[in-house]
Symmetry: C2
DNA sequence: TCCAAAAGTGGGATCGGTTCCATTTTTGAC
DNA sequence: GTCAAAAATGGAACCGATCCCACTTTTGGA
């Protein structure tokens, strides 16, 4: 493989000139530029990215930490991030902490990114205590958090107003006449799950239809977690005309199980999801849900990370509002 | 940030000794090892990965090229690959060619990986002509292809026997008594889509129930492609008691649309998918499908790539067999 | 034509590891 | 206690860029 100095020699110029020509910084005369271009062509030269990184002290690598890669949620995030990064000529490396057993393990995944000398890091976490992000964020200024909000990290957290989301859910169901409403939540130790849940309960109460405790099932945002929560709900004996699910995956599992039992949706029970992931138009019936602008949030987080890391000035926004998205899985209460 | 030489100085040993201690190659006395460990601890030393890469001429980066990141298929692949790579201390960088407009664009995405000095590259492509992989593979010995089979690249292509898959589909439907069977295919320019389609048609014919041309819709393996293919099928006026869909995404779209129209699955029409992605147990009704061992294939491809690239000896297998996975979306023909 | 400012240039030092090699130290069989 | 083989060691050269700086050339206004 030809090196920059080979190019310089062949072109009959100094190595600095070639470097300047390639990186586009500094000035190079027309004549030199042509000679260099020719030499590059002739030698089939390609700059060595490691040497470049070492000497410029920038890896052009952005680390992305996700707690899981199951289901469409994080996929949508990664898809959005990858495309933003590519636009800026950066590369994403991924750490999926899904198989981590302990908190220590989870941090080890973060170290896996840091040890790789990422220029910046995107963390998608809704966990609070478990994972002392703040401590990391302090050591690592180019770290930004998606789907979480803390004041200590102002300007570096990107979030959706799940309080509003929870309330929109409650209002929608109540407007349809549902008074006996059940809910399956995510793990309540996660900020996003708790927030929407608490707001949902509060809004239901405010609207005069408090949710009875036996109608609340704490689940988890995974297919398996959804399955057991759904089973718990269906065997609990609780009665309800609508179920608000903490995310779309759980709603999908619930619809499938109700179908299996011959329960009609929304005829017998209305189902409302949350997130509005990729597949929501294609459940049967199509899932009514709270649209969370996951991709916009991810892109914003990415932009701001790039700004912090490379001194760019890309547009971004820290907080986003969810909106109601009515499809076919919710309907008027038939009581 | 402390450097290796700082560590050496503090520990009172030579830089070579520290290097050997860290990388675990070569021998270091107990006594030196302890002094070095202490110095590392004290200086909070972390090796610089770029310097390491430059001098060892290995980036520990594996590039992964995918044609799209929509839907669960490629995500399952990436999830499997990421976990294998992490096990070996390697990092994945991703190029999603989904937004590529032209063939040139697609190749540019590959170059994006190559320019990054990836040690090895995994390409997931089922496209034949469009994308002259062979030429790249020649220049780049550490390149391996997932979900494609070519003899020129023997030992470096990993595939599923979609011929068998197509036949299993036909047999299942015929065994259930279906004689009027429709099918929605993927783009037939893709090897995997064509293979299963051709085999399906052939097997149907062999079983005495050739598929009439008006019951064949060429679609694409995306939600949007699924939607238009489904619309085409439903407005075509063709009659059928079962539909074989080229992948699960399309099957899901079809189930949703049939639900909307009040058509019962499998009561009125049986639906058979292909791939057995993540969500198949959770459609309503749960999707019968041809299970394609995507994750195993991805892991094998990854293993072999690591073998080629780093001289490892991980177990792998080049070709995989699909199997029938019966759930609730297929049932006996009621004619 | 002159001259200061601007543009362009070459090459050496540097980034922080790995690797090689000549040299020293340790080991253990006799 | 001797000595050859094995283990351990230090340091210089190297990987291939970037970046700085002192120097030369070009530019254009007076």
């Amino acid at each position: 493989m030809a090196t920059l100095r080979d190019v310089a020699k062949l072109a009959g110029v100094g190595s600095g000139t070639v470097s300047r020509h390639i990186s586009g910084t500094g000035s190079v005369s027309q004549k030199s530029a042509e000679k260099i271009a020719r030499a590059i062509e002739q030698l089939n030269y390609r700059p060595n990215s490691m040497a470049r990184s070492l000497s410029s002290r920038r890896s052009d690598l952005i680390g992305v930490w996700v707690p899981s890669l199951e289901g469409p949620y994080y996929h949508m995030m990664i898809r959005a991030i990858e495309s933003e990064l590519r636009l800026q000529g950066k590369h994403m490396i991924l750490a999926n902490a899904e198989d981590a057993q302990s908190n220590e393990d989870r941090l080890a995944h973060l170290d896996y990114l840091i040890n790789r000398d990422c220029d910046g890091i995107l963390v998608s976490s809704s966990l609070q205590s478990e994972f002392e992000l703040a401590r990391y964020a302090e050591k690592f200024p180019n770290l930004v958090v998606i789907n979480h909000r803390t004041d200590e990290l102002a300007g570096r957290t990107f979030s959706i107003d799940h309080d509003l989301g929870g309330r929109l859910a409650a209002r929608h169901l109540v407007e349809l006449g549902h008074t006996r409403v059940a809910t399956i939540t995510g793990r309540l130790s996660a900020q996003d799950a708790r927030q929407r849940h608490v707001a949902f309960l509060d809004e239901m109460e405010r609207l005069g239809h408090p949710v009875a405790p036996e109608r609340i099932i704490e689940g988890a945002f995974s297919y398996a977690g959804g399955e057991s929560a759904v089973a718990a709900l269906l065997t609990s004996g609780a009665d309800y005309s609508a179920v608000f699910c903490g995310n779309d995956k759980v709603a999908m599992v619930l619809i499938a199980e109700l179908h299996r039992r011959g329960v009609s949706v929304p005829g017998d029970v209305s189902i409302l999801g949350y997130d509005d992931v990729e597949f929501t138009p294609f459940t049967a019936p199509a899932l009514s849900t709270i649209h969370a602008p996951i991709e916009e949030m991810s892109r914003s987080a990415c932009h701001q990370l790039l700004n912090l890391t490379y001194g760019l000035d890309l547009p971004y926004q820290e907080h986003f509002e969810p909106s109601l998205c009515v499809r076919q899985s919710t309907g008027p209460s038939c009581q």
